[in-house]
Symmetry: C2
Subunit: 214 residues, 2 copies
Amino acid sequence: MVKALILIADGTEEMEFTITYDTLVRAGVQCTSAFVPDSATPPPVPSSAALLDTTPESKTTPTLVECSRGVKILPDTTLDPLKAGPDIYDLLVIPGGLKGAQTIAGSSPVQHLIRAYHEYPERRLIGMICAGSLAALQASLKRQPLTSHPSVKAQLEDKFEYKEDSVVVSDRLVTSRGPGTAFPFALTLVELLFGAEKRDEVRGPMVFPVGTPW
Amino acid sequence: MVKALILIADGTEEMEFTITYDTLVRAGVQCTSAFVPDSATPPPVPSSAALLDTTPESKTTPTLVECSRGVKILPDTTLDPLKAGPDIYDLLVIPGGLKGAQTIAGSSPVQHLIRAYHEYPERRLIGMICAGSLAALQASLKRQPLTSHPSVKAQLEDKFEYKEDSVVVSDRLVTSRGPGTAFPFALTLVELLFGAEKRDEVRGPMVFPVGTPW
């Protein structure tokens, strides 16, 4: 079964998080959302039971997240870098929302994970949307095509081949712009994982208006 | 301040809920999400403090909701019909997701609230999206133009002037079709509450792709 790890922090954009999670589930992906604490917050002390538990889906100390516009989401688990790697998941997703993206992109364990997904021998995908693209910079990914929310373009355009397209696919790195591009972002991830037919199968029952350009 | 009450139940479609809540917050609406228990579940016994508290925003016994594709959302409060009327809120929203919509539409207090919003002397709005439109039927609203997710059309087309438009505005009742129409649904509510200029102001930073038809 294809597995996705979707990161979330206080201040994550709830539409970008939810549209990606929900669309991937509709495609049959097993999604796990993982809370990334602010680096100012000490990490939870794992219980002895958690230390013994080596299953990837173990649910350790989930923390309620307050998203950017006040929706409160309970993540499936708290990020454990030892159970979050490209040996377990096929896809790593970093949503936007400036405050949440800064927390996620500023996390040293997340930066290591991004590089691990980027360099893994088998092909893995990394999705970043909106201010989430700041994580490509913080993880020191090589210069390649990328987009982001316009509000963080100035931080990215020197280090990457900055594009204004709604979704930019650069080998393993898939980037996008904001809540308004979250559906084409998520559907592009579905297509890259399963092909165009599955994308159409997921898209149909969502009932997009006639003339929607994705 | 304009206030919206957005209902949520186990099985609510998380994209429809979140897109509406977030978009309204971006427009400056004070949003309150209220949990509607399944009628099979006994209502929580209010504490004496809750009985003394008459503020509309009082947070009584919020219950974690498991949405249709597994996202877990903590509502702002549990529905208290005495603090949910058109004397307090300007807008009542009922999202889809078949199981959640059936719970919400089947709730007798919700049916009374819908009629109260429909008939209130001052103009109030009622938004229903996807299977949420079943609530218009259950509340016995008068025959008028309406749309819904195609999967529940057969239950609605005899009692309403059924339309296939992405968003249908019938005086106070605003209906829509599915996750793919949730953005135009939410932006239509913003426009009805505040005008076209505010709609454009909210829409811009969302960065919809060129050619998006809303």
